[in-house]
Symmetry: C2
Subunit: 318 residues, 2 copies
């Protein structure tokens, strides 16, 4: 669905987690949050904000909403804790920031931005990243803030299945795929990407997924910005976000071809699945996924938010 | 320096840390360790070992040697601890394993391999990664094992400089650049890459560098394997290892052109520096760097080890 526009913002709220028998209330709440994220990001862009401002604002809305596996509503680790990952990247400068395994920061995406802007590093992990958050004065939150009963029950189900299929339990409950992200193009043509996640249900041993691996779940350069959502291990191995950007920027492939080759061919070839949102400097965009559905939406300069969930859905303009 | 050979192994021991007034004894010890790493890896390949076996064996030799910033001899964090990162990747399958921020594992590169082979994850960090090492029965070591006086003094110097140039102190002591790595091609044409590091002197807040970021410091596919060494933040932002592999594998650029474009053009354009070793499935290889020197070497099927340090040195065959 290529298009040209002044400002564009795309968001996703995860791929593959979606049940076709989703009840109407959940669907309504999910779509309302996607719209709010789009509108909040678009408001940034309309007021002269940068692509990075808009992407971070949109992702923060989805982190705050309990339906998505990021921030409030993040999945639980094997030990019953919540360890969140996030990343941001600014296309024009290729500056980036990322955090892995943080538990006490209300909006991990804002911490990733602080790493980019206020540290000499790109990626911080664990208690060190949390100490940096405190030094930077970011808003903290107690474990109770992030907890939702739904995610807790997902962990209990995964733990109950474990003896039967150790190591594979998450493949069946879709715990891999909940992630939120945004890519934006601002009025000056600048691009940015932002992604945030709780990772996968029942993850162990300080697992770091693709979200905070620059080049895997998140990447942006002058011509292309990508945020991914899927089975993180495969996204790392295929360097999904960087592969799409290289195809657009160095190989000059049309954006939708680049995104589809990586998401619909490379990832399944390795055995993984998921989706991505990709946006070009010319405003062209694509949102391919190889799962049943992907929470997704876009908004252009006219301010009308378009959202969809399943593969066969047209993007409505409500 | 393209060539064709049956088995090939390249190693590096870091770029940029090198002083032109290096004393003769240090030089001798460094070169002896590089040769030992090459010969150990070549012995693997000669006995029918895989590229991954050889790359891991070579890196483990350099981790054990105290002259390099990896394993024994790793640099110190701001807090006076040693937190090591490592990664491996197998080209044919694009399976990968990585660890970040581990302090008690004698050979972090072996832990990275265990993550790849014995966990459902690609990347583990911090205490969780150490717990996994214990479960896997990897050889552990006390903090005293990793400590060298030289690295401790580097930290003291960095701390003493800090008030004058906060955040930039490491740029001046070359603490960024010590990293060890290997890439190998086995008799069946398979490729693999392995990298290990202590990171940068005086690093803070759980900083994760490029070494354990798959696509940044380490990547391999069917046609190309890369291990990098340099200012890690820039290697992450440029996705150096994956960029070289994409140029070779998807864009069909000659290997030395691909490696040189990324190392000699892309990284300096962002403001960073460092080097990389890159090996193609046809046995062609390149070892570009934009620093004063890079500890490096290669060995072919004839078993003769070639090592060099500075830019103007021919590879000798001692």
């Amino acid at each position: 669905m290529p298009m040209t526009a002044s400002t564009v913002l795309l968001v996703h709220g995860g791929a593959g987690v979606i049940r076709s028998d989703m009840d109407a209330d959940t669907r309504k709440a999910v779509c309302a949050s996607l719209r709010e994220a789009l509108e909040r990001g678009q408001a940034c862009l309309g007021q002269g904000g940068t692509a990075l401002d808009a992407a971070v604002a949109a992702v923060a809305v989805l982190e705050d909403a309990p339906h998505f596996n990021a921030g409030r509503g993040a999945v639980f680790t094997h030990e019953g804790t919540q360890e969140m990952d996030a990343a941001v990247m600014d296309g024009a400068t290729r500056r980036a920031g990322a955090v892995a395994g943080v538990g006490c920061v209300r909006n991990p995406v804002r911490l990733a931005r602080a790493v980019m802007e206020h540290s000499p590093h790109v990626m911080l992990a664990g208690p060190g990243a949390e100490a940096f958050a405190r030094e930077q004065g970011l808003e903290l939150a107690d474990p109770g803030y992030f907890r939702t009963e739904h995610r807790w029950q997902q962990l209990q189900q995964a733990l109950a299945r474990e003896p039967r299929s150790p190591g594979h339990e998450d493949a069946q409950d879709g715990g891999h795929y909940g992630t939120v992200g945004a890519v934006a193009r601002d009025a000056s043509g600048g691009l940015a990407a932002a992604t945030s996640t709780g990772g996968m249900t029942n993850k162990r041993w300080g697992r770091v997924g693709d979200t905070s691996v620059i080049g895997a779940g998140t990447y942006a350069d002058e011509r292309c910005a990508v945020s991914g959502t899927g089975w993180g291990e495969y996204f790392i191995r295929a360097a999904v976000a960087h592969a799409i950007c290289m195809r657009v920027s160095a190989m000059r492939q049309p954006l939708h071809e680049a995104a589809e080759e990586v998401v619909l061919r490379d990832i399944p070839q390795l055995g993984g699945d998921g989706g991505a949102i990709a946006l070009g400097a010319d405003g062209a965009f694509a949102m391919p996924f190889n799962t049943v559905g992907m929470y997704r939406g876009w908004i252009g300069a006219d301010g009308e938010a378009h959202v969809a969930i399943f593969a066969d859905e047209e993007m409505d303009g409500h």
